[in-house]
Symmetry: C2
Subunit: 394 residues, 2 copies
């Protein structure tokens, strides 16, 4: 359908805007020189409003999973008790990291597709003594659920005031509101290939004063991901090890675009694209996995109907230039996912829905031509109406 470029609708790596692509082709510079230091400082300053923090944001050269490991190993010691609230594959991964490094992890498992309830956390914390850390996933990429971190954090602060709050914000921060300082998040983690519209290769980590204090006593071994080394180097505009400079060029340009749009504009765009995707998929006769009250504005998971030959259907979709993501872990073969974060505008969503409609017709599913894009467009408008009334045509 689009012979020019695939419509990459996976939840990261996301597509790159034209100027971000150009930035990725820039010549190298000395990573110990002033030009680099200015780049690093600009990125850190640009990210802070999206993290909602006045604390340091550190730049790690690794995937988001490396950032999750950094969050764990820098503040915990083997044997420390941790409570991992898991709502999907990435919550499981976060818990696994802590276990591998010797933490005593209790998992508070929530059914995949549902959000973690603050009351459940309260009950779990009432049972658990001396929890050193609580591991939360903000946006669970595997299920398309956004957990209510503000409320969960409030419960944690009240029921376990000494516990550190470590939050996986890999597929949320920069795309939907996040307030690390106001919520009391101690370590927040994100990745370059998600909201930031850049190539993968870097993880960004915000660290509270409480977390820094914890790094002084934490005994899990770390070297490459040692945040203290990163903080020391950051003081002179550097990283301890050679950073992924070209990814930083792209993140820098992505931030420039996000600042031009304004954080409120970025969030509204994600809200609109999320609402449009959900409405459109439902209009195509698909069930969505996520609890509607906690549906993610960055990724949507749809159940694969029992009577649908997924391979044949996805082949039709791919042939028309749309790339979807499959399910992960226990959801493999049971769902597919549509990413709508970072460089995503309504065009992408409408185009993808048109292709899904065409693929549905191609495999013999009864769908009404045009219905999905029509409801999607209306849903986007309504989503924006709620927050950006100025955009309503007079």
């Amino acid at each position: 359908m689009n012979p020019f470029e695939a419509n990459l609708r996976i939840p990261g790596p996301t597509m790159l805007p034209p100027t971000v692509r150009e930035a990725g082709g820039r010549q190298m510079i000395n990573h110990r020189g002033p030009e680099y230091a200015a780049l690093q400082d600009r990125i850190v300053a640009g990210m802070k409003p999206f993290f909602g923090t006045a604390n340091e944001v550190l730049l790690l050269t690794c995937a988001g999973s490396g950032g999750l490991e950094a969050a764990v190993v820098n503040v915990l010691s083997p044997g420390d008790r941790a409570l991992a609230v898991t709502t999907g594959a990435f919550g499981d991964r976060f818990a696994k990291v802590a276990e591998v490094y010797g933490a005593a992890v209790r998992r508070l498992e929530v059914e995949w597709g549902r959000a973690a309830e603050p009351d459940l956390l309260r009950a779990a914390l009432a049972e658990e003594r001396q929890v050193r850390a609580i591991l939360l996933t903000h946006n669970e990429t595997s299920t398309g659920v956004t957990n209510p971190v503000a409320e969960l954090a409030a419960v944690a602060r009240e029921a376990a005031p000494d516990a550190l709050l470590l939050v996986d914000g890999v597929s949320s921060i920069g795309a939907i509101p996040f307030e690390a300082d106001a919520w009391g998040v101690d370590v927040a983690v994100t990745g370059s290939q998600k909201a930031w519209m850049a190539a993968p290769g870097m993880s960004f980590v915000a660290v509270s004063g409480r977390a820094w204090a914890a790094t002084e006593v934490a005994r899990m071994p770390r070297f490459y991901l040692d945040l203290r080394r990163h903080r020391e180097s950051a003081a002179s505009g550097q990283t301890p090890w050679t950073p992924a400079v070209a990814v930083m060029y792209q993140v820098d340009e992505g931030l420039r675009l996000m600042q031009a749009e304004s954080p409120a504009g970025v969030f509204a765009r994600h809200r609109a694209c999320g609402a449009a995707t959900r409405a459109g998929l439902r209009a195509l006769g698909l069930d969505l996995l996520a609890d509607p009250a906690h549906a993610s504005d960055t990724v949507t998971a749809a159940r694969i109907p029992e009577d649908l030959d997924w391979k044949a259907f996805n082949a039709e979709v791919k042939a028309r230039g749309v790339v979807l993501a499959g399910g992960q872990g226990r959801l493999k073969g049971r769902i597919f996912r549509v990413g709508h974060l970072g460089f995503v505008i309504l065009d992408h969503v409408l185009g993808a829905l048109a292709v899904l409609e065409e693929a549905s017709l191609a495999v013999g599913r009864a769908v009404e031509p045009g219905a999905a894009v029509a409801v999607a467009r209306r849903a986007a408008l309504e989503a924006n109406l709620a927050v950006v009334p100025a955009e309503v045509p007079a």
Copy 2:
């Protein structure tokens, strides 16, 4: 002197050739799809001849230092005895990683600027019982010395047949000959921003059968850098965590260029550029740090003369578009370094020497105009004569 682009003469990140820059600006793809798998498989296949291995080469999203950490934590357990042969800042770093994770490390320290002697290693191994691993640096980036890994490995195999050989080849592999299998290297590590002419952000690790066996009993904790997880994913053309796709685009293009040139051609070019740099710097009245018998063909360190105001001199150099690297660790302020690896041709070396000559004159040093570039050009020719006679003009 060059108003178009700086002549980046640091030992990584190295400059990017034009087509590699273009590759860095490509659109993202699904890292779980067939197009990506082909990219990964092509890179792995392309790298094997430069590693001199038929074993697996794994792609890690991290700096070279992360690759060094992967080499250590995947094959050792806390308390294991390791012998670290250190000839500079990067040898120290490798040893430090092993210490941080609880290995009992004995350091065989060699004076910075000299190479590790096989006899010294033999003597050290005669004293040490049950060494589980020997840590070697192939090319010590901080001093401009290339250690004789072939000879050191032969000694290690003979004197400590059960010890694993872990080799830091970050600034050597791909630029100078390396034969992991023939030498008996168990884990060899390199980085994208060195010989491979790509941006930083990835480390590549070759692993022997002995090393894989060691991973099964090694008890140092690892998750993000767990090579077993990487091997498992590699079987289906993937990485366990989202890889630095844009860096891979660049590495892929860099490899294409290296293959077109042929490994022998790549090595000869580095030999010529190394010889030219050394001859030119000496002609400028500078003492080189490295033992001439083990001078590196990827980076050269020159002593800063006592009567030279380094800051003033380097400002003149920078103003003319050449970027040099300073000293590291105990050599800070005592040397400067000139990188000549990856995307380096004689033009770059001659241009840099002309600038150093001009900067010398600007700060009042007595140098003969034209002398440095003349001897550099002759040295390059002689270096190539020794190995590529076909290139001699009739």
